[in-house]
Subunit: 674 residues, 2 copies
């Protein structure tokens, strides 16, 4: 009742989903290097599951032989990983309290750069959900061919399943993250080792010599002709696609404070470990994919093909690789659900998004964020038919925009710090070099991606980010002007400031006990009370008037308003306007009795008109609105509910949210308090 519908839905959901976790419980558990790797590297490491394949998709345009070029392209990616990771290690040192791209860019390059990074990241979180869900489903359908063709539906199920888990509340716990993350790492490493042993045994069968792409070896002349469609542009495009391997690399630098003391050292160590694993796994998969002649195709992922070749068919090991791959990808999607509302909150606190997004206690705001994220990711899945390699071109733009800004911010940071402390700038020479190189490379990659992928979808992101920026600007300007407008009124005399009296207008229409109770409350507020009844059907008005006169109600007069169109609010509004014109010096207090039931799920069955009045009448001049709650606890109705909705109650007894468990008082029979 008299709350938004979505709240009702949410309350019903709480029945289903259990109480949400308190925000302050989030980091009770401090992370070690091992558990930190589990929590923060799921997003970063999971991208190796599709990065190699994305490179090969692009190269395939120049024929199967061009696959050999995946080796030098992969080498470039490994170098990029090393430099960007080293650059982010500097960020950890400089921002021990956590330095996300938004904060680092804002602090050092100014708010505009920060907002560009923020907009890029918001777009990215949506894409993380879509890409990870699509890639996770691809890992599943590769292993279970009977599910092929259902990728879109499966991806949507996955997205909403993760949304459901997040609506229910999830803790970023090392224990939960450890199984998929370490499972993935171990199974991929095992696959690589086993694959290399087989290669050493002469067991592999590349389509062309691995050296041919580098121009070495006898067959290179023939190879050149086979793969003569390989242009520099195509190589750059392949490189751009492979850059998705770097997504999620910045996660540790955002969450330094989650580590056990000494936080910085543990974070740096974790980063080192992640970096090493990232390029080892990526390089291993790329080499094996080439060596075993895997070819990207619809229906089966490259990793699945490699695993099949290495383990000689679809045995236990093959299924372990596929299962852990699917699990880490779903985990990566999950991290975006935590990051999206957090970043929105930061931006809102700076006044560039609606201020209500900062209310961490407001589960409605948080849940709206989850639903928005899931909805946008679902739209992308449907639009791009659940295909990872159609989504990837959109993905990388935002990632590298944020990388570039954040690394550039770090360069400025070191220069500023040297100046502040009047030190020589060369004290930070190594940091400066690493961040500068990181910024330069990220920026170059960004340009390469934007150019080579522009027609493949990157333009969507390049249009979207300015639109988000325009909204940021709009919100910020609005708040500034609003503050100005209101503060200009500090000593103004406003209408109704000197109202002489209070007149109570009470809407009635419900059952007698509700009316009796509300009238008693109304008498506490004013002696001047008028009851109003809107007669939705013509003859009801007269009937009601007679009934009212009979019961008397302590001399309170009844006004019956006719409503030819069965509309309740319209006639009431006209009446209030009339009273205001007749008594311009009187404050009208509109009392609306409303039923409050003991179970939130039933609220939707009551107060339809109350909700409508609250929405429509808040603009009425000279009127303040007071809601008189009438509490009803229906133990008998509950039996009826249990019959029909027992499944809802499987969750066990409802516990209060973090807002307080004394929210609803439940007395045995029926209680009406005001």
């Amino acid at each position: 009742m008299f709350g938004p519908t979505s709240v009702r839905v949410r309350r019903f959901k709480r029945l289903l989903f259990g109480p949400p976790k308190r925000t302050d419980q989030q980091h009770l558990e401090r992370l070690s290097v091992a558990s930190g790797l589990a929590v923060f590297s799921a997003d970063g490491l999971s991208s190796v599951a599709y990065a190699t394949e994305e490179i090969m998709w692009v190269l395939m345009a120049a024929g199967t032989a061009a696959a050999a070029y995946s080796l030098p392209v992969g080498l470039g990616i490994v170098a990029l990983v090393m430099i960007v990771a080293a650059s982010y290690t500097q960020t950890i040192h400089a921002y021990p309290s956590g330095g996300g791209s938004y904060i680092v860019s804002k602090d050092n390059l100014g708010i505009k750069a920060g907002l560009v990074a923020g907009a890029s990241l918001l777009v990215d979180y949506v894409l993380t959900v879509a890409v990870s869900a699509a890639a996770g489903v691809a890992a599943i359908t590769s292993a279970v061919p009977s599910l092929r063709g259902q990728e879109v539906v499966l991806s949507l199920i996955v997205i909403w399943l993760i949304a459901w888990v997040n609506l229910r509340g999830v803790r970023e716990s090392g224990a939960i993250f450890a199984v998929p993350t370490y499972g993935f790492i171990l199974s991929i490493l095992a696959m690589i080792v086993f694959g290399l042993i087989r290669a050493a045994a002469g067991d592999w069968h590349p389509a062309v010599s691995p050296w041919s792409a580098f121009g070495i070896g006898g067959g290179s002349q023939a190879f050149r002709q086979m793969a003569n469609g390989v242009t520099l542009f195509l190589l750059l495009r392949a490189f751009s696609s492979g850059c998705t391997a770097l997504t999620g690399l910045e996660a540790i630098s955002n969450g330094v404070q989650a580590f056990r003391a000494p936080e910085t050292r543990n974070a740096v160590r974790t980063m080192g470990l992640e970096r090493t694993l990232l390029y080892t796994m990526f390089a291993g998969i790329t080499i094996l994919a080439f060596g075993f002649g895997a070819v990207p195709k619809e229906g089966e992922t490259v990793v699945s093909q490699v695993a099949r070749e290495v383990f000689g068919g679809t045995g236990v090991f093959y299924y372990i690789v596929q299962a852990t791959t699917a699990m880490i990808l779903l985990l990566a999607a999950n991290t975006a659900y935590a990051d999206f509302p957090r970043l929105s909150g930061f931006i809102a606190r700076d006044g560039y998004l609606p201020r209500r997004l900062t209310n961490r206690g407001d589960t409605l705001v948080f849940n709206s964020g989850i639903l928005l994220l899931a909805g946008l990711a679902s739209a992308l899945i449907v639009l791009f038919r659940g295909s990872t390699h159609l989504l990837i071109p959109l993905y990388a733009v935002g990632v590298f925009a944020a990388f570039t800004l954040s690394q550039t911010g770090m360069v400025v940071h070191w220069v500023k710090q040297a100046r502040q402390r009047a030190e020589s700038i060369w004290r930070h020479g190594w940091s400066l070099f690493l961040n500068g190189l990181g910024a330069l490379l990220s920026g170059t990659v960004l340009v390469v991606i934007a150019v080579t992928k522009f027609t493949h979808g990157a333009w969507i992101v390049l249009v979207l980010i300015p639109l988000i920026l325009a909204y940021f600007t709009y919100v910020h300007r609005y708040y500034a002007r609003f503050r100005e407008s209101v503060e200009g009124l500090l000593h103004e005399h406003l209408p109704m400031d000197d109202a002489k009296a209070v007149k109570v207008v009470m809407t009635i229409g419900g059952l007698s006990p509700v009316i009796d109770h509300s009238l008693r409350v109304a008498r506490r507020i004013s002696k001047d009370i008028t009851a109003v009844y809107v007669a939705a059907e013509p003859d009801l008005g007269e009937k009601y008037q007679k009934k009212w006169d009979l019961r008397r109600h302590g001399g309170v007069p009844l006004v019956v308003l006719p409503s030819p169109y069965r509309d309740v609010v319209g006639p009431l509004q006209t009446y209030l306007g009339q009273v205001h014109r007749e008594h311009p010096e009187t404050l009208i207090n509109l009392l609306i009795p409303a039923v409050v039931t003991s179970e939130p799920f039933d609220d939707y069955l009551h107060n339809g008109t109350v909700d409508q009045m609250l929405r429509e009448l808040r603009y009425a001049e000279g009127v303040v609105i007071t809601v008189i709650p009438f509490f009803v606890n229906m133990s008998s109705a509950r039996n009826c509910r249990i019959t029909h909705f027992r499944f809802v109650l499987l969750q066990g007894k409802r516990t209060g949210s973090n807002v307080g468990s004394q929210k609803r008082s439940r007395t045995p029979d029926l209680q009406a308090g005001v």
Copy 2:
């Protein structure tokens, strides 16, 4: 502000969509036979666009030669159309005020039968939207091959486009409906006539002799072997699929009152016309499809193939057929958007759905219905990959359940009427015979569909309808018990009924002018005022206390509540509980100042905390809540808006809804009234 988020979205939409139409404008224009046919037969006639194809899809399972069986199956459908239409003509005579299946079943067979019909129809409206959108898109993609493969996305676009039109408000105007309906009728009839002329000229090329399926002619033996997969079950399944031709046939009987006087006679005439057109068009298409050897396949509809054959390629006439087919299908989808909320309202008025659904003036309820319908239809499109013939098995169950109940109801109606008027039952013999035959046939078809299509998706509907019925029952029992509970309290003495005094607790935190104004209003309500400030950050509390003491505010005391977790509502709730325990005899009036801006789109930028407080604190014991609006009209902020959202304003100046245009007062600068 302090309304649900969805309202804000709705108000923003009104900017985009213009003011909604008044409900009372709906039937100002009375329909002639010609315009009545346009309005009511779009849904019914449009089904011929896919009915033939659905029959052929089933028969194809037994080989291409089995297509010949589409002729006898089609003959059966034609007979069924004749009988059911005649049966509905009797309904028009008996229910001149409009006899939908829900009302006829309820009146004559009791509420349970009515609810089964109602649940079936609600499911059907969702399927009407999904099937019509998918079939409309199929007509488009058949003509424009480059769009093939995008069916799902196109169907979703169509569904949400129609939803958009309906959110904007649409009148069931004969003029708007005439072009697509008559365009479709004329183009299909032209195609049939032209096709038959070509057939007479010996120009067609059926795969087998048309007589072979009837066992006539020389080649029948050979044919039998070619199509020996044709079992009785397969024929019944084909017949079930073809029954979709009958969907929408009941529309005229629902809307008799929309016709010009004499209503009944005009409605009956329109029904006669629709029936004749329906079986003519259906039979024509079926014969031509057979004669020109059209074969159902992905990518091109049977009607498209027939049109190509008849008009010798894709010329102007071909495109006219495809365009009018697509248009009438979209129109058919559109009718469901009007029917769904209307039927929900009827059921709600009888107490089986939340009562708020009866509020016709409540655009929020109406719009929620539209969004729900569009959302469910979209889910079906994604699940069934936009394929008409995967959706059809679900469709027919509900239609024939409603037919059967409605026709059975008519049989009872005639018997009852004869008894009431003490007439011989044979006075209504013809009506009885027609309705009885209609009921019998519909019931038989229902069983045939349920059995033959059970594994093809019909089971979904057979599970769904009981679930909807369970919800109906739940709601109805709940209301009965609620009324009982509350009426038992008629002379009870309730807590707070004899509160001695009113204590005002006012939340503050905003800007000074808002506080000053709200305090002045508070003084009108009580002399006992306490201001409360929730300090979201520790040091803010002290600062605020100092500032408050400095400005004095007429001696009103300030209570600062610490909030370690940046949560505003929790500490406030604890405080209110404490005050209530300390003063159990005092009514607490919680005053919440709220900003009301001149533009609804900006409301989301304010009052996040207000909304949260209203949602969470309404359960607080001994508390009533009053919202003090602070009106702000920012002319300067508007300039800023225009820069960023000019596209929103293309609609021109905003006009009020039907609820009243005086809703928001806009004074030149800034106005604060209460």
